[in-house]
Point group: C2
Chain length 314, copies 2
């Protein structure tokens, strides 16, 4: 039974892609089961309910040498804690290739598209397998989520085609209305503790010298209600300082992305982070906030700028 | 113009896949050109002549940051000398994933099949593009070469299907006869200097500690005429000792694979290498030769055994 899982702090794509890929593999004769590496965000339960699917269970501890399949990530820092001792046999991902290696030839499918689910749809079509309704819901939701309904600069024609192909199978007539409902569910953060808000969509990235990299925690809150988030600014900044100390990081940043207006105002908890933000993005920090304008994609805009900065300043 | 190239010491798959992938990309609107990273072996000119194709030119020096596509390899030690400064945007390969990283999301297509050309045929079919006759020749020859006409344990059903699909397009009626002709061309080594014979199909692999790996040079001569090779044993052993010293390697091994009888007798130039061969394969060395029996695949049988050995002994 091949475990299939997405990244830590799972988003909708990480969960949906694990479920869909596990079922696809099972239909192809490879017994597989989806798992998750953490608590669901506020959007994914809404999606699962619409798809009439259960959340996958938490990944149990795996024996060294266990074969696993990764979706929507490939770097160790974003994966199972003992990934380097596991046998990665399959990866479907749309991120840059990081420190992954394999002990044997593996099945790797990476394309620079907006969402892993877009690649999973391609795998169905290449294998000439029909798409089941629940899988269509999951993939459709993942594409809308990852691309912010095509607002993100990561969006490609393949993602748009995937949505056009999947919507009729899922039975979604008004994609725009469904995306807004999904984003509203995601934005209903209630009284979630600030430390959890920070880590809902959060990844640790190594930058600079590959042997002794700087390690930065980069969180994102994508919301239709940024006012709510900035209402809790002091709490969030304190949580970021705590995370920096507790996890031994060199810096922590939290982008607050206004989905509907396509803007990103970033919380910057300290002077060291503010200096890096100024150098990497040319953006000053005032009252612990840096206005990054329309740079809303962590993958395509935030991480590359930081990488470029640390290449010459680490 | 995207440069497309296979590994150093190119074999038929490295050359054929570069030519075929460059043409496929060009047909898909991405201007691409095939290059090679070294001298052709004795088999590839025979294949190119039958396909009525020219050999690709040597890869020129590329500016840092140039976008490139790799076929049939992914590790730095087997690639362009400044690979880490190039921008890898595409890889099609059937080897284990080594030290490759990318600066941005890239197109990666890896599957554990016997030959890169088998994956290129899949890319044609997925894109619903017809296969041109010359490309069919190249891919057919590459699959037969890499799998030793299905004798290698790396052979998969996909490779057999590829040959069955390609032979009629290439106009090859008797695949067995064509493969024998190709292997005979490869075995006609003439008066090639021993140092060149050693490096015709030769790769340097890092083993053990990833920070300070041992580096071993592993050559293979696949031949229908092993008697000729063992007639030059003394010269070859001297060339191996020279390569070890000149390239600062920890060891050099040369497998002599009898294609038709599916056996591998390995030349072992020193006591240190003999000790590793004994420990990794359980095989003694006598008169500088270790009989590895039917372990004819460097990728699937030789490298994994050495990896496993050095994991615990480096």
């Amino acid at each position: 039974m091949l475990p299939v899982f997405g990244h830590l702090n799972p988003d909708t794509d990480a969960i949906a892609s694990a479920l869909v890929y596990a079922r696809l593999l099972s239909r192809q004769g490879i017994e597989a089961r989806a798992y998750r590496l953490g608590t669901l965000n506020f959007e994914t339960p809404f999606v699962l309910e619409r798809a009439e699917m259960e959340a996958p269970p938490l990944l149990p501890a795996l024996e060294p040498g266990t074969a696993v399949a990764l979706v929507d990530h490939n770097e160790r820092a974003q994966s199972a804690p003992n990934l380097e001792y596991l046998k990665v046999t399959r990866v479907v991902d749309h991120h840059k290739l990081g420190d992954l290696t394999t002990m044997q030839p593996a099945f790797l499918r990476f394309e620079p598209v907006g969402c892993t689910a877009t690649l999973l749809l391609k795998l169905h079509r290449e294998a000439r397998l029909s798409v089941e309704k629940a899988d269509a819901w999951l993939m459709l939701s993942a594409v809308l989520s990852d691309t912010l309904h095509f607002r993100s600069p990561t969006t490609t024609p393949d993602d748009r085609e995937a949505v056009a192909f999947l919507a009729p199978i899922a039975g979604v007539r008004d994609v725009t209305a469904y995306a807004l409902e999904m984003f509203a569910a995601k934005s209903d953060l209630g009284d979630t503790p600030a430390a959890e808000l920070l880590k809902m969509d959060y990844k640790v990235f190594p930058f600079g010298d590959p042997i002794r990299p700087q390690r930065w925690g980069l969180g994102v809150i994508e919301t239709t209600n940024p006012g709510y988030v900035f209402g809790r600014q002091a709490e969030l900044l304190a949580a970021m300082q705590d995370a920096r100390a507790a996890d031994g990081l060199d810096g922590v940043l939290l982008g607050v992305v206004d989905i509907l207006n396509e803007t990103n105002r970033m919380l910057v908890p300290g002077e060291a982070e503010a200096a890096v933000v100024q150098a990497a993005f040319g953006t000053p920090t005032a009252n612990s906030v840096a206005d990054l304008g329309d740079r809303i994609s962590r993958k395509k805009q935030i991480v590359p700028a930081l990488e470029k900065h640390f290449e010459t300043h680490s």
